[in-house]
């Protein structure tokens, strides 16, 4: 079991570099799952940039609790969440989740749980800038629905 790690930052980061160091050199980890969220074109059309606003203080606190819950519930050997805020362009990395466990089912379930909670319960708000103007991304009913399985 580990304390996990939560990083909220404006600067870009490379998930590959994070994955390289994550949960290595241990004899008890058989499965590592990573999720990387990237800026893609808006449903409305080609994206110019994305802006992510967040609630400093609450963000770290809310994610920290999700990570604690995941570590306990799936006996994770390690767990990591990195989430950016500020402005980013198409193709840039927005965030990353990584989980390490003895067995694959736990690593997958914990990563999906964290993604579902980050989506709807971590205080981030996305704004998409397209040629047609700026628009706050609306929360999806499907994302709220996804929380109910946990």
């Amino acid at each position: 079991m580990s304390a996990g790690r939560v990083i909220v930052q404006e600067a870009p980061f490379e998930p590959a570099d994070v994955l390289r160091d994550f949960a290595r050199g241990r004899g008890d980890v058989g499965a590592v799952v990573s999720f990387t969220g990237l800026v893609r074109d808006a449903d409305a059309g080609p994206l110019v940039t994305m802006q992510i606003e967040h609630y400093p203080g609450m963000t770290e606190r809310a994610i920290g609790r999700m990570v604690e819950t995941a570590i306990r519930r799936w006996s994770l050997a390690d767990c990591l969440v990195i989430h950016r805020h500020g402005e980013m362009r198409k193709g840039e990395v927005i965030m990353m989740v990584a989980t390490a466990a003895r067995h694959r089912a736990d690593a997958f379930a914990a990563a999906e749980f964290l993604m579902d909670y980050l989506k709807s319960r971590a205080p981030f708000w996305k704004k998409e800038l397209t040629e047609d103007g700026a628009e706050w991304v609306a929360a999806k009913e499907a994302d709220e629905e996804a929380l109910r399985r946990w």
């Binding site: 809310a62 981030f124 706050w136």
Partner: protein, 83 residues
């Protein structure tokens, strides 16, 4: 005195990211009613509370009947869109 914070389009409608508010409100809902009575921009921001979420001292509340007594900060924002 309590710090009131606004995020995303709530912040844009109200025009400031945070402000100090002198209030007697005991719940989030009472605070919303007080703010709505202030100026049109508040009334616009809080017109549809079902579209809003709130946090008291950085904890998301289940509904607006949540107490704010003794709280240092209350935040209003639309449903989150992280990940």
């Amino acid at each position: 005195m309590i710090d009131v914070l606004y995020f995303a389009w709530v912040r844009e409608r109200i025009g400031v990211p945070r402000e100090q508010v002198e209030t007697q409100a005991r719940t989030v809902a009472e605070l919303v009613e007080e703010l709505k009575g202030r100026e049109a921009r508040y009334a616009a921001a809080f017109a549809d509370v079902s579209a809003l979420r709130a946090a008291v001292d950085q904890d998301l509340v289940d509904d607006f009947s949540a107490s704010i007594e003794g709280a240092r900060e209350v935040a209003f924002f639309p449903p989150m869109t992280g990940g």
